[in-house]
């Protein structure tokens, strides 16, 4: 098998067995990147030199001794990975897809990056994204969009579009994205890969350039469910530098990927009565429900609570937090600075005006409005109360069901420009993904079938906080059905 078609775990195994060396794997990865980047544009910055050096160093370790006490700790040794460009990487440019940070070089690495490097994975580069993660297509990146490897006329989704496309195209073994309202799961669905938003607090946010701090989470984008579990195993760790990260009982995520769903209670949800699902997406959802039922799960149709209030509540809170988080970009200590300003206020205003793109300005202004005197109670406080109602309703739903199955997005990947001039339509397409962010619960997107144009369909499983193993159980079953003899 070609190296670029292998899963992260297959690569790790081939390396451990001595069938291929780490420098060979890294070389193959950069050849793949070189051959595909011109048409796809998944990466903003490559780390070829450091990756090659790291490969040589790791290969020497692998050959001389086994540095890992337990074999399961060495599963990702030598596996090339990519990181979304809103996670800091020491000494490697980190732009957030914005002119504001075009030349920003962090002095430290994000918690997730440190953990993966410690586990022996090799960082190959930083992936494209919507500017400051504000978008669903990568079209708001100031460096130009990424194209979907399945169909280059289509968007890869966003905001972690570069990460999803890089995994789908075989330009890395796996990638890390971030998800505030669906930014891992929706691009995973559009590109036909697996994407997980972990429970809020399971993975460190240290070094993640904040969008909406109460909802941001980093997580894996991978070729299959087992890879996703293996990456989570490494990055799910309490970090003293992120006070919202949580100490949890160690869990064996890989062991959960057996696809045994017998006895699981699963609620199947197709949206509100007025939700317009693409017919093939609706069909895939029904077939997935049948698969789970045939495999021994109890599947029941369920209405997702407060669905019509989900997107307004989410965007009110996300924009409010974003407007506050982005105050730090003022052109003083780092980032873009206007050269003509005569006083400090002018410096702030010109630097921000010149460096931020239209969607960033829009969200800052929306956030400033809902937080401003006279409107705070009406919008921001109201949305926080709505959030509690939503959270309580989901907590109650999870007493009846172990998992909720629904589409990841109402449609497959749209063409470029589909949302131009219609911000609201773009926001509304996040209907199925924002509940997991508002409630802090985990959710995974798994590819399940294709539409008439051959575009991948993604289905989502949501579950109780810190019950990622149940998500993997369900996702592994759906994946077997997709890969197995049956056509979905």
């Amino acid at each position: 098998m070609q190296l670029e078609q292998m899963s992260a775990l297959e690569l790790g195994e081939a390396i451990a067995a001595g069938r291929v060396t780490i420098p060979e794997v890294v070389s193959a990865t950069f050849s793949e990147i070189r051959s595909r980047e011109e048409s796809l544009h998944c990466f903003l910055t490559l780390a070829e030199q450091s990756a090659r050096q790291q490969a040589v160093r790791l290969q020497a370790i692998v050959e001389s001794e086994n540095p890992f006490e337990k074999p399961e700790e060495g599963l990702l040794v030598g596996v090339p990975f990519a990181v979304k460009d809103n996670l800091c990487t020491k000494g490697l440019r980190t732009t957030c897809g914005s002119a504001m940070l075009e030349h920003f070089v962090p002095t430290y690495s994000a918690g997730v990056v440190n953990l993966l490097e410690k586990a022996g994975a090799v960082l190959v580069g930083k992936t494209n994204m919507d500017e400051f993660a504000f978008g669903s297509t990568t079209e708001t990146s100031c460096f130009g969009p990424t194209r979907n490897p399945i169909d280059p006329e289509r968007v890869p989704g966003g905001s972690s579009g570069g990460s999803a496309a890089a995994v789908a195209a075989g330009e890395c073994g796996f990638a890390i994205g971030t998800d505030t309202g669906g930014s891992i799961r929706q691009p995973a669905a559009y590109c036909g890969v697996v994407g997980l938003k972990p429970t809020y607090g399971l993975v460190s946010r240290y070094g993640l350039i904040a969008y909406a701090s109460s909802m941001d989470q980093a997580g894996p984008l991978t070729r299959d469910v087992r890879d996703c579990a293996a990456v989570l195993q490494v990055i799910a760790k309490k970090d003293g530098l992120d006070s919202t990260s949580v100490e949890t009982e160690p869990k064996d995520y890989l062991k959960a990927c057996v696809g045994d769903v017998r006895g699981l209670r699963i609620g199947l949800a197709d949206g509100a009565p007025d939700t317009k699902l693409q017919p093939e997406v609706a069909g895939a959802l029904e077939r997935a429900g049948d698969c789970l039922r045939e495999a021994g799960a109890e599947v029941e149709r369920v209405q997702l609570p407060y669905l019509e209030y989900m997107v307004p509540a989410y965007y009110t809170l996300a924009c409010a937090e974003a407007s506050s988080n982005l105050e730090r970009f003022d052109g003083v200590k780092y980032g873009y600075r206007d050269k003509t300003a005569r006083n400090l206020s002018d410096l702030y205003e010109r630097s921000r005006t010149e460096a931020f793109g239209p969607e960033v300005k829009r969200r800052i202004l929306l956030g400033t409005y809902v937080l401003s005197a006279g409107f705070y109670d009406q919008y921001y406080l109201k949305a926080l109360k709505a959030r509690r109602k939503i959270k309580e309703a989901y907590d109650s739903l999870y007493t009846q069901y172990d998992l909720i199955l629904c589409p990841t997005a109402p449609t497959t990947a749209p063409k470029f420009g589909a949302y131009s001039g219609d911000t609201l339509a773009m926001y509304q397409s996040d209907l199925f993904t924002v509940p997991a962010n508002l409630t802090g619960c985990p959710a995974i997107s798994v590819p399940f079938g294709e539409d008439a144009d051959g575009l991948p369909i993604g289905l989502q499983l949501m579950g109780r906080a810190f019950e990622e193993p149940l998500l993997f159980q369900g996702a592994a079953l759906l994946e077997t059905e997709r890969k197995g003899g049956r056509s979905v």
């Binding site: 307004p312 407007s323 003083v332 929306l366 400033t368 409005y369 401003s372 009406q378 109201k382 109360k385």
Partner: protein, 98 residues
């Protein structure tokens, strides 16, 4: 539908957020923001009289670290290398006192 956001509001928000919009930009941004805020207002329908706001999904209270000075592992010159303009160990800004 009644407009919630007028041009004066947009200008006030820009002042607060330290952003400038040209007159043409101002009008298109106003229209879009007005539409989105109108949509946000849907949550007004929810009865939340007995509901407390939920700021964080976690039940934890403030997490404190021991108040001890620690050596910074990075180098000052690396941090300062990101400053657009600097003098010695400090970033420089336009004169703030006359």
């Amino acid at each position: 539908m009644e407009e919630r956001i007028d041009q004066d509001t947009i200008q006030r928000l820009c002042g607060q957020a330290k952003l400038t919009l040209s007159p043409e930009e101002g009008e298109s941004v106003r229209k879009e923001i007005d539409r989105v805020i109108g949509y946000f207002a849907k949550i007004e329908e929810l009865d939340t009289t007995e509901t407390l706001p939920l700021f964080s999904v976690q039940d934890q209270s403030n997490v404190f670290r021991v108040d001890e000075a620690q050596e910074y592992a990075g180098r000052t010159e690396d941090v300062l290398s990101n400053a657009p303009e600097k003098k010695g160990d400090f970033p420089v800004v336009p004169k703030v006192v006359s």
